[in-house]
């Protein structure tokens, strides 16, 4: 690996930026990345969500991953956990659907019925 010096410089910039917005994560989005999810394009969905978080500066939201949830035909699936609210699961979330869900559910708190798979535990 080369360029570790360059990484150090990037780190200094990023560190300052992070210090400005320290806060707790209020929203967690879980992308299912089992074999079924991967084959259905879930990595694209995940990267779309990560980019949307950066673009909208919603630093209270994180994206994590999980394995197969057992509903492979619904992949790519995402689960959304918002503090003090029931978890919501969406199915067949391609990048376009991810954008819509992000805009409505993450930013405004509205459930997007079109892609809804289940509500509650």
């Amino acid at each position: 690996m080369k360029n570790l010096e360059e990484l150090k410089k990037i780190r200094e910039r990023v560190k300052k930026d992070l210090e400005l917005r320290t806060g707790k994560h209020r929203i967690k989005i879980v992308v299912c990345l089992g074999t079924c999810g991967i084959a259905a394009g879930a990595r694209e969905t995940m990267n779309t969500l990560i980019d949307l978080i950066a673009k909208n500066d919603t630093s209270d939201t994180i994206v994590t991953t999980a394995g197969c949830a057992g509903f492979c035909e619904q992949e790519p699936m995402i689960q959304i956990y918002i503090e003090d609210k029931e978890p919501v699961v969406y199915g067949k979330v391609d990048p376009k659907a991810a954008e819509e869900i992000f805009e409505k559910h993450i930013l405004k708190g509205e459930i997007v019925e079109k892609y809804l798979f289940s509500k509650g535990k």
């Binding site: 690996m1 560190k15 992070l18 074999t35 084959a39 990267n47 950066a54 994180i62 394995g67």
Partner: protein
């Protein structure tokens, strides 16, 4: 699975699911054949044929398709897939595909696969090497070195992710692993 990048991500997930904390990956191209060796320190495999779709460790359903699909993709080009326990207790997986074969899958974005893996499983150390023409191994990514510089939340930032992506992608392209079928 539309490309080798997806397959690669899938087998990395197998290692993580088997409890691996260290995963070593070697990639290379020789005589128009792409080969990949992955060594982990996970729980290993029991005495069973894991490339059989009806053998799986998961409990949500009774089939596992990841390895059989990759095996088929490799063999359909005249290549192979081998998986066996290492002496240290983890698993070694090797596969080779003929990238000039008509049935070969494109590489896809392999650098993105690694960035996604590093993002998805921050506790796992990934060590990535490319095999150069003179048979020497070149380290192109070392989780431990990176973690000595950036912490977990810094690693999640776009600028750091882009840096890691570019530094891996540049080295992969040098040995001919390009988005499509490589440079000959």
């Amino acid at each position: 699975m539309k490309d080798l990048a997806d397959h690669l991500f899938d087998i990395l997930e197998n290692s993580v699911k088997a409890g691996a904390t260290e995963v070593k990956i070697i990639l290379g191209i020789k005589d128009k054949k792409f080969f990949c060796k992955i060594e982990d320190n996970g729980s290993g495999i029991k005495d069973e044929d894991v490339t059989d779709p009806f053998v799986t460790s998961r409990k949500t359903r009774k089939v596992g398709l990841g390895l059989p699909l990759l095996k088929r993709a490799a063999e359909s080009t005249g290549g192979f897939l081998k998986i066996y326990n290492s002496e240290k207790g983890g698993v070694i997986l090797e596969f080779e595909t003929d990238i000039a074969h008509i049935d070969a899958k494109p590489f896809g974005d392999i650098a993105r696969t690694f960035v996604d893996a590093i993002y998805s499983w921050p506790k796992v150390s990934f060590d990535i090497f490319v095999q150069q023409k003179n048979n020497k191994k070149l380290s192109i990514f070392d989780s431990k070195k990176i973690k000595g510089i950036v912490n977990y939340s810094e690693m999640q930032q776009k600028e750091v992710r882009d840096f890691i992506y570019d530094s891996i992608d540049r080295e992969l392209k040098k040995i001919g692993i390009d988005y499509q079928f490589g440079i000959f």
